[in-house]
């Protein structure tokens, strides 16, 4: 953003919105919007409580496991789909259905199948994240210059060499943007899972705070989640830009 020809640092517009929030909060227009300063005070206050740390670890654990599975399975599946026509035709309709399906509706079923604990939440997270990762890895492989593959073969690359030295790298810009979107969806997955199961992690906290109308507590937790999701997305965005020098030159 530029004002009076002065380049302002990134996201300085957030300050403006924060200020607006503070004013609305101070005016006490609605109990739903406490002042931003009060929210941050609450945040500092609860950030050392057992309940908050427990929620944070549970959420981080579910998120980490879910995204790891989504990447470890999603990328190879996508690459194989991009390479193999038969497997592609077999899996693509399924992947597309799940990508656009209202997965939230599945969570109660998962709870019945896998119980009310971490397992259900991890599976929810995987289900939210994996499809876009698969599709992007597939798209990345589809656009690989065929002569690059022929080059590797002609110089004697084994299938393993070709996979690790050509396919992964040639599809990396697409894979990374798939992972970035997948991670954003995984945040949704974790929270939706926790909310519906509502006895673990931030889901339990949300439930507690909203029932007791502890709005500044509620906002404090929400801000933590927003900040986490945003940082993850920005971090992956940085990685993406690192490979963009060849993304347009393939």
């Amino acid at each position: 953003m530029k004002i009076f020809n002065i380049q302002l640092p990134m996201m300085s517009s957030l300050l403006l919105w924060g200020l607006l929030w503070e004013i609305v909060g101070q005016l006490e227009l609605t109990f739903f919007v406490p002042p931003l300063t009060a929210i941050f005070a609450t945040l500092i206050e609860i950030s050392t409580t057992k309940a908050f740390i427990k929620a944070l670890t549970e959420t981080a654990q579910a998120f980490f496991l879910g995204t790891t599975y989504a990447i470890v399975f999603g990328i190879p599946i996508g690459i194989i789909m991009g390479k193999n026509k038969l497997i592609d035709e077999l899996l693509l309709p399924l992947v597309n259905v799940f990508l656009s399906a209202p997965l939230t509706a599945l969570v109660p079923v998962l709870m019945i199948l896998f119980g009310f604990g971490l397992k259900s939440i991890v599976i929810t997270t995987v289900l939210f994240a994996i499809w876009i990762i698969i599709l992007n890895a597939r798209a990345g492989v589809k656009q690989i210059n065929p002569s690059l593959i022929e080059m590797a073969r002609s110089f004697g690359a084994s299938p393993k060499d070709a996979f690790f030295k050509i396919y992964i790298w040639a599809a990396l810009p697409e894979i990374l943007s798939g992972v970035r979107i997948g991670f954003i969806r995984a945040v949704k997955g974790v929270i939706i899972g926790q909310l519906l199961i509502s006895i673990v992690g931030f889901g339990a906290l949300f439930e507690l705070y909203t029932q007791q109308f502890l709005m500044s507590h509620f906002w404090a937790v929400l801000i933590v989640l927003f900040a986490m999701a945003f940082s993850i997305s920005e971090f992956l965005g940085v990685l993406e830009r690192k490979v963009s020098y060849y993304a347009s030159n393939r």
Partner: protein, 257 residues
């Protein structure tokens, strides 16, 4: 002795068939590639010259017949052949150095050794100082020099070149053609060179195989001899050069839409 040398073929193609579905791309094609010489595959587009080159490379299988490289039948890519690609086929995420060393890397040559070899060939093709540049920082001509250095660094007997100069500008192309003549003379390798340019084929070749399409077969083999040892600058004015160019055009013109 002389006779022996003449019958020594680095690559022999015997009665090769290739079809794509109903389309007969190559029919009963036989051709010998004498060792140490440059043979051009020349013909109108769709005559199967690239198909033939890729069959020799082992990149695509033939439907019949056999290809011998150093008297051993081809059933896939091998270390006795190296390929130079029309679109360079460089890895855009890696430096010139790793691109050139890639063939050696796939053969598990230790890093320091393969980089030393790669550096030598990078200098040989005139790219000294560009080792740590990335392909997108180079011009088309320089990229193809990288592709050439990669093919040379694996030190195979046969160099397969698929229209290597068609994606570079005309002046660079002339320089490449001159350099290629030097390579043929000094490297003691067998070159198989696909081109659709008549002048280029006559300029660089010891032997030109004229392919005619639908289905492809060798219609004529031409061996320019008179000007082969002349100075590179005077070849294009040689009467034999001009005659051969004219004759080839006469054979090809009816196949060009």
């Amino acid at each position: 002795m002389d006779n022996n040398l003449k019958t020594d073929n680095a690559v022999s193609v015997h009665n090769v068939y290739k079809n794509y579905g109903d389309v007969q791309a190559l029919e009963d094609l036989s051709l010998d590639f004498p060792r140490g010489e440059l043979t051009s595959l020349l013909g109108p587009s769709g005559c199967g010259k690239t198909t033939l080159l890729k069959i020799i490379a082992g990149l695509i299988p033939a439907n019949g017949g056999e290809v011998l490289v150093n008297n051993a039948p081809v059933d896939g890519p091998g270390p006795d052949r190296a390929f130079v690609f029309q679109d360079f086929a460089l890895m855009p995420w890696d430096t010139v150095l790793r691109n050139v060393a890639f063939g050696l890397e796939l053969r598990n040559v230790p890093k320091s050794e393969r980089e030393a070899i790669a550096e030598k060939y990078i200098t040989d093709v005139g790219l000294g100082g560009f080792e740590l540049k990335y392909p997108h920082q180079l011009s088309g001509g320089m990229r193809q020099r990288v592709g050439l250095a990669r093919a040379l660094s694996v030190d195979s007997d046969v160099l397969l070149m698929d229209e290597p100069f068609s994606a570079v500008d005309e002046q660079t192309r002339r320089k490449f053609q001159e350099d290629l003549l030097g390579l043929v003379k000094n490297e003691n390798k067998t070159f198989i060179f696909v081109t659709h340019s008549i002048e280029e084929a006559v300029y660089v070749s010891d032997q030109i195989a004229l392919l005619l399409p639908r289905p492809s077969r060798v219609s004529e083999i031409i061996r320019p001899t008179g000007f082969r040892h002349k100075d590179v600058g005077s070849i294009r004015r040689d009467p034999e050069y001009l005659d051969i160019v004219d004759n080839i055009w006469a054979s090809l013109r009816s196949y060009v839409e």
